[in-house]
Assembly symmetry: C2
Homo-oligomer: 126 residues x 2
């Protein structure tokens, strides 16, 4: 059980991070996720970090990198389920996760992706 599963639901991919990822695991996740975005044509990636209790600059960078890769592949990343302590630590570390959108939970993350889709369609129709 060393790979984090990438779940697909509609045109959104869901990743729930539950294990302490080391370098190898992060690289594998980034690869799996990039492959999945291309294979499925997903327009959104939701990273759930409900289970993450302690965060460091390594995880902060991982989230930013995943968001950048997804953006290259035309998918938007939303980080959901962040604990208050994790948010405090990230800010204290100077990692404000620029470019990564956040939502309180999975439902709100999906709603956020849907609403930005609508905005894009409206903008394209103009």
């Amino acid at each position: 059980m060393d790979r984090v599963p990438v779940l697909k639901l509609g045109d959104v991919l869901i990743v729930s991070i539950q294990v302490d990822l080391q370098d190898q695991g992060v690289l594998a996740l980034q690869e799996d996720l990039a492959d999945a975005v291309v294979a499925t044509g997903a327009r959104g990636v939701i990273i759930d970090i409900t289970a993450v209790e302690i965060v460091d600059s390594f995880i902060g960078r991982m989230l930013a990198t995943i968001a950048s890769i997804s953006r290259m592949l035309d998918a938007e990343t939303v980080v959901v389920g962040m604990r208050p302590a994790v948010a405090i630590t990230l800010v204290e570390l100077g990692l404000s996760l620029g470019g990564v959108r956040t939502a309180l939970n999975l439902e709100k993350g999906v709603a956020l992706l849907n609403s930005s889709e609508d905005t894009q369609i409206a903008a394209a129709a103009r």
Copy 2:
């Protein structure tokens, strides 16, 4: 990171099992899931076991127990993402997971829950 997160999406709860659960972890998951079913009024529970590569009778029993608890609380359980090797092992162990519905992936699991909901509504309307 010792608790498996229970994600809510609409009236479905999603649990992705990624770590080797020991007795304590299984009990915690069963409690969290039962609490979440009651708190959210969820009508379906989806257990994703994509990341589970090796299965034993312990995990097989856990899945059956979660399904029984959910049924008591008026929610249906669907196990998704089972690997072929896991299916073979479960049958060889004599664990056919009676009472647990399965689907190939998360999408099909959600579709299964929606279709059985429709059937129930149709049956109730008769």
